[in-house]
Symmetry: C2
């Protein structure tokens, strides 16, 4: 297909998706849950078919020389299929956000005004070669009453089409237009551009992947984008901080799963506690294999800390490596965070009421924490149920995005013939 | 200045605005209110200076041959100055949204999670030559703890700089960096482009003006845009509708202020009530000078209704003119609204519980009303206090945007040393 044909195909799909979304918005919770559970059933009975289609992608991937990590993410193993099934069951069990009404108030004019939660419309998902996202994202969008247009990495095309095909069969069996969930069958990179041009039919774009993909999407979309750049998370050990809590939180935040966005990338230590805290923390972190890059003072306190290069400050390492800096006071720590943080997760360890409240109020991040591991910044841990991503920009959603963030609120008015004076 | 110099100037301003916004975010409510009230005081005592600067703009405008309507909007008359003063006093009296915490819940892990309302950061306002917007918008942004970068129409440059200058004097007197409120002193159209490129320092762009301006901003911004396209509002008279309520609401919605976005542009009438409703409504509307363009059936029922052209359906007339269509049932009315509406305001007149609830749930618009005038879609009427615009897209805000819509919520976590298992 040339670009013109791709544009035509994607436009036709988006238009049908918009029409299907109107039907979805009016579906009862019971029908939506039935669809999710029937899809889980399909994943169980059609496992062989899914594996066969996935094997086609894996074979091409091996031929192309994809890295073992990429092949691993591409594979729909029994474990991954089981987690998709569990995800569908969990989303079916979550409360339906659509139709919730709040803030109903009588106004002086006589009308009663409130807000009703409604679906966004059509969600455009752009993601890398992780075919499980096809089911996870579609399930969340469906439960929130949205149509979804999916554009996964080209290496996963057979897997994605197979999974969406199962879902579409279930939709049709429930008298819902199958265009409610569509995978764009275009492996050419231009498929992304074509999707970003569907302003008339797509309400929001959610990109999941590396910083390059997300920048490309942001710069080329006139549709609003809910984006998650990167997680450069910090831990500030206050003068009054408890050493044990600090060490425990540093260890868990850095080492429990170093490759994810809510893992720690830097530690700021008040100068009055550095002499007691740093050696204790470094001992455990070094034993866990963490490489520590530090400022002059940190290196002087712990010989195993090596001098950090200028480019290390503010880096998202995503591995067992982090920077350490001794700061004069909390203001210096907060200024450092404002400069180097990515508005993802920032933590203070303190026993001071005053400092805890100042940090909470003044630090700008999607999650600001007192005496807790940065690893808690997660939809499940926060009680949102499943999440479709973590927003590090402030419009619409800031932090983990669950079902509610896939909806909006419209105003509703109950009148008895009132007119404006 | 050439484009390069404009880019440098605007970037420097945006960067300073970002730093000032950090200070603003931490200001107490009392100080913010003092600043607003002191600005109101300045407008009273500096009236002559404001009039002198405004006169410079008016003189250039007259020379350029601006239309009387444009000159009228450009003029800072005593009445307009009084309304700016009143606006400042009203915004000072509104509750401060910043710092509000809700949804605090204990999670199984032991942490307590909630959400705290925080400012967006820096707001970029782009608007036409109405200098009163400079004060109105700056006041709302300040109260919500945001810095603001203002780019008004070039015809109002002296007025805008004078007004912002007064505000900056007040800010400095309160030890707040004056860059919290800045007017871009560039009349070249490229000033808008330069502002739309400040993704690193500006969090949201709010354009106010005609559809052309808003499209230009949307297509050229990588910063999120809160936009208000147009208001093509409809009134559907249901089979069970009360004739008196219907006529009263049609008259008020269409004629109370025909040039604004929440005025009625089309009326859909159920065929079973058309014979009784249309002649009664047409009589009053025609007497008020409204030109009615209709479908074949409407024209047959009321001889004064003239046949509508294809291009009339879905048009935003903004004058005493509207379309009228007889429909077979409510589904046809809702399909028409989905096709021709602009997601602004849609009204049903009905005595049927079932139809009222279906319309409320299924119609997609920023405000959906039962038996009330479309003219109520307004921040003041809805109880939000002053409004900075009406969003007809669904991300972040849908409908009138008040102080709350100029903020976002971050997650906050209270822990006692918890780590993730």
């Amino acid at each position: 297909m040339d670009n013109n044909e791709i544009d035509q195909l994607v436009t036709a799909m988006a238009e049908k998706g918009r029409a299907a979304a109107r039907k979805l918005a009016a579906l009862s919770t019971a029908v939506k849950n039935d669809i999710l559970l029937a899809t889980a059933e399909q994943l169980k009975t059609q496992r062989d078919f899914i594996r066969t289609e996935n094997e086609k992608d894996l074979a091409v991937g091996r031929e192309k020389g994809l890295s073992p990590a990429m092949l691993d993410r591409l594979e729909l193993s029994d474990k991954v299929i089981a987690s998709m099934i569990q995800g569908l069951e969990e989303i079916a069990a979550l409360p339906d956000p659509v139709g919730e009404v709040d803030d109903m108030k009588r106004r002086p004019s006589g009308i009663t005004v409130g807000r009703m939660r409604v679906p966004l419309g059509v969600v455009g998902m752009i993601y890398e070669s992780r075919p499980n996202v096809t089911i996870d994202a579609a399930a969340l969008c469906l439960k929130a009453g949205n149509g979804v247009l999916l554009r996964g990495g080209s290496e996963a095309i057979h897997s994605n089409l197979a999974l969406a095909g199962l879902l579409q069969k279930v939709l049709e069996a429930h008298a819902v237009p199958k265009e409610a969930v569509q995978v764009i069958p275009v492996t050419d990179r231009y498929g992304v551009n074509a999707m970003l041009a569907q302003e008339a039919f797509v309400d929001v774009i959610i990109p999941r992947g590396g910083e390059g993909l997300i920048r490309f999407v942001t710069e080329n979309s006139s549709i609003p984008v809910l984006k998650h750049y990167k997680g450069v998370c910090h831990l500030y050990i206050d003068e009054s901080g408890d050493i044990d809590k600090g060490v425990r939180i540093a260890m868990n935040s850095k080492t429990q799963r170093p490759g994810v966005c809510n893992a720690l990338e830097g530690m700021l230590v008040h100068k009055a506690i550095a002499e007691r805290f740093l050696p204790a923390a470094a001992k455990e972190l070094l034993a866990a294999g963490v490489e520590l890059l530090g400022c002059e003072q940190s290196c002087a306190l712990v010989p195993e800390i090596t001098p950090a290069a200028d480019s290390d400050w503010g880096t998202e390492f995503l591995e067992l490596k982090m920077v350490v800096k001794v700061v004069d006071d909390m203001d210096a720590a907060m200024a450092y965070i404002a400069q180097h943080g990515s508005q993802h997760t920032e933590v203070i360890v303190t026993e001071s009421y005053v400092n805890s409240q100042r940090f909470l109020r003044e630090v700008d991040a999607s999650a600001v924490m007192i005496n807790a591991s940065s690893r808690f910044n997660d939809g499940g841990q926060f009680g949102l149920g499943a999440e479709i991503g973590i927003s590090t920009t402030k419009l619409h959603a800031y932090g983990p995005m669950g079902l509610e963030e896939l909806t909006t609120k419209k105003f509703i008015v109950y009148g008895q013939g009132e007119v404006r004076q």
